[in-house]
Amino acid sequence: MSAVIRLLLRRLGISVIVLIGVSMLIFAIARVIPGDPARIALGPNAKAEQIASLRAQMHLDESLPVQYGHFLADLSRGDLGISLYTNRPVTKDIAQFLPATLELVFCAGIIMIMLGLPLGILAARYRGRWPDHLIRVLSLVTVSAPGFVWAVILMLLFAFYLPLFPIAGRLNDSFDIARVTGFLTIDTLLAGDFAAFTDALHHLVLPAIALSLSGIGQAARLTRANMVETYNKPYIEMAQAYGFFPSRIARIYAFKPSLIPSLTIIGLDFAAMLGNAFLVEAVFAWPGLSRYGVAVILRKDLNAIMGTVLIIAITFLIVNIIVDLLIAFLNPRIRHSARGSA
């Protein structure tokens, strides 16, 4: 068995333990936060006996361990229960809303990587000079405000004053596209409708930029710091002494070793965007899972809260496993240490 597969199996094992821990924690927290889910679901005018009946139906009149047992039994059948908010199976809700958030987060992640890393490289290469100073200022500005502030600023600039981009939803009303994957950029292509595809991209621009801006600044600063440290290593001096082009030194000898710590943070940022997307989704009326998560928390919809948190936790773990594997691929020392400790 190769070292990478052993690493993967170990990470998967840890992930299962983490998921069980998360599920227990969220299960308990969701039940102690104020508000009776049955009362909220039935409306403010429901009678006491109606509320009691729904509580019994939801097993809320039983002890927490027994309730958790019911949850696990249902989960083992792939049943996350019915959402009190939408009155549909939670799995159906997640299947409908998750692709919208994933599409947004993927786009934001790509923008973060495509802009953050090159800006970091540029700043390191011209350290102490004006491009470095400019990128530092830009990075600080982008990091200093959360995504929803950028969402409103971008909306004001590029929709209110300069009406260039749409600001609500994922696709113009005039397009009727069959939802196959739920990713509209893919579904529009599957439908062969290029106009709809460009419209879907057009709708993605502002929310994806708003969500990615703080990550761009963070990635740029981190990459710069790591690369500056690498530039001080003797082998870089040797490469410079050999007369290698600065661009080659930056791309090959300084960037690759500097990428490893950056990659870890970028991976965490990427996964964190799933949860943080809520406010950006709210501003741009993006019908995603993060917004759904907040809606169900406000209504204390226990099944939907559990389902949403578990899905976000699973995605978080998957991203971390991918990052671990990438780091192992990039850094032979980690591969070897993994082999040694297996």
Partner: protein, 520 residues
């Protein structure tokens, strides 16, 4: 270089803009998110709008005045506690099925079985289908507002529900689909995004050609988003929940302001079981100290339109028993001091807990206003923010209920009984509507008289007496009569929300899309 890049990006983006070409008129409005479409669970504003458009009811409120007119019902007769309705025979559901008495029976039994939303209005009501077009309701006792309650009984297509669902009541099916006879049918529903409805061809009443062909009810839009969408010409009617500042800005930009009033009020409810508010003199002192004028100014949109009008008493103007528009409540510190002197408690020992609902930031401003007013009387107060879920739980016991809670309450059927009985009758304490925990025999008597009076004159007299008694014992500071304000583009005409002679006197019914007109 940067400038070129910006210009290039702008040009690229501009070329990507796809201008939709609509062959049909589209009305776009927004509201708070509606998780599901089940009409039996409709109790909020948004799901009421959906219910009134997708489903029909036996009667409708009379436009521009009190009373009700036949709708699905052709006529009705009242015999004590028996109400017999003759149905129209030309009403078809959107499925093509004919609406019959069996559907009315199914709809009522369905509401009672689900026990959600406003089903409590029909508790203890029996129903039978006499024949295909006659249905009889039998009540446990005479209940004058029963006909008004029927505006909350949407008639569901039984055969269509049963053919699309394995369960008796088709809950899952109706949570995302429509099965009504209304002027609009549901085309799609995404609880996170919007419900799309289209004009029904088979509606039994004539609908103007100018009524919108398609309606997109969008959910959960932020104020900044709504403002931008209206500026872009991509939104028609904003929800009433926009902050007053945003409505003001939209009005300045040329938006029209639509209004709906006469169905509810904003109340500062005092826990009458907790010292010092268990003393009516103390409550009267606080009532007179409150600055009603400033409260109304705080919600003004412009010189002409406000989100509320000055209260004249416990009952909003326009309802049975309301005081005339001249008897406006006003701050009177001299009287407040007089009542405080008669109060059994020492003001120096008082610490009034004033709460505001976390989801309604406007209430914090009222809490601060009250704190300032009470300070003028030498009474200390403490402001607390409470999420709605926590508030609803706290009010279930008198000890946990705060001294003062702020609430918008409206008459869900347009009748004062559904506004006042739940708030003040001694049999209904401890709900979100009744944090007063009032237990007053005279109030009970007047409320019961309002329910059982045989005619409108009797009801008017009962509610007038009730209003006087409530003013006398002041369980509540009657803040202001509520007026919902909607900023709208000039592409739409909504007579029911702009012309008082066309108004329905029922929250949400002004949004009957069939009565709207798209100008462009």
């Amino acid at each position: 270089m940067l400038k070129k890049a910006v210009i290039a990006a702008s040009i690229c983006a501009a070329t990507l803009v796809t201008t939709p070409v609509f062959a049909e008129s589209v009305l776009r409005l927004d509201e708070v998110a509606v998780g599901e479409l089940d009409p039996a669970k409709a109790s909020d504003y948004a799901d009421s709008i959906l219910m009134f458009n997708v489903y029909d009811t036996l009667v409708l409120p009379q436009q521009g005045g009190p009373g009700h007119v036949p709708h699905i019902a052709a006529s009705w007769e009242v015999d004590g506690a028996n109400y017999t309705f003759k149905l129209r025979d030309d009403v078809k559901f959107q499925s093509g099925n004919t609406l019959s008495a069996k559907d009315v029976v199914y709809s009522l039994e369905r509401m009672q079985a689900l026990g959600a939303g406003l089903s409590y209005l029909f508790a203890g009501v029996n129903i039978e289908a006499i024949d295909d077009t006659t249905v009889r309701f039998t009540l446990e006792q005479p209940y004058a507002p029963f006909v008004a309650s029927l505006v909350r009984l949407p008639i569901v297509d039984m055969a269509y529900v049963k053919s699309n669902s394995d369960s008796e009541w088709g809950e899952e099916f109706l949570s995302a689909n429509g099965a009504g006879s209304g002027a609009y049918s549901v085309k799609s529903h995404n609880p996170q995004e919007e419900t799309v409805m289209s004009k029904s061809d088979s509606y039994f009443l004539s609908v103007a050609d100018a009524a919108p062909d398609t309606v997109r009810l969008r959910y959960g839009l932020e104020a900044a988003t709504v403002r931008t969408l209206i500026a872009q010409g991509e939104h028609d009617i904003a929800s009433q929940w926009l902050p007053p500042e945003v409505v003001q800005a939209l009005a300045k930009d040329g938006a029209q302001l639509l209004t709906e009033s006469g169905t509810g009020a904003f109340y500062f409810k005092m826990n009458t079981t907790k010292a010092p508010l268990d003393d009516a003199n103390c409550r009267l002192a606080l009532s007179h100290a409150f600055d009603y004028g400033t409260a109304v100014q705080m919600i003004a949109i412009n010189d002409d339109i406000s989100a509320g009008s000055p209260a004249t008493g416990a009952i909003p103007v326009g309802m049975f028993g309301a005081n005339g528009p001249d008897s406006v409540m006003a701050q009177d510190m001299a009287k407040a001091k007089e009542y405080l002197a008669a109060c059994q408690y020492d003001p120096a020992d008082m610490n009034i807990e004033v709460t505001w609902i976390a989801e309604v930031p406007l209430e914090e401003r009222f809490a601060l206003l009250m704190q300032s007013n009470f300070t003028q009387l030498g009474i200390k107060s403490e402001i607390k923010k409470l999420p709605w879920a926590l508030f609803a739980e706290q009010v279930s016991s008198a000890e946990n209920t705060p001294h003062i809670s702020q609430l918008f309450v409206n008459a869900v059927t347009g009748d004062p009984d559904t506004l006042l009985y739940g708030m003040y009758h001694s049999s209904t304490p401890g709900t979100w509507q009744s944090p007063e925990y009032l237990n007053d025999a005279m109030v009970d008597k007047h409320l019961e008289a309002g329910r059982s009076a045989a005619d409108d004159a009797g009801r008017e007299a009962a509610y007038q007496a009730l209003n006087a008694r409530l003013m006398e014992i002041a369980p509540t500071i009657y803040g202001f009569d509520r007026q919902s304000v909607f900023a709208a583009s000039n592409r739409v005409k909504v007579p029911a929300l702009s012309d008082p002679t066309q108004a329905f006197g029922l929250d949400g019914m002004g949004f009957s899309f069939r009565l709207m007109e798209m100008v462009e």
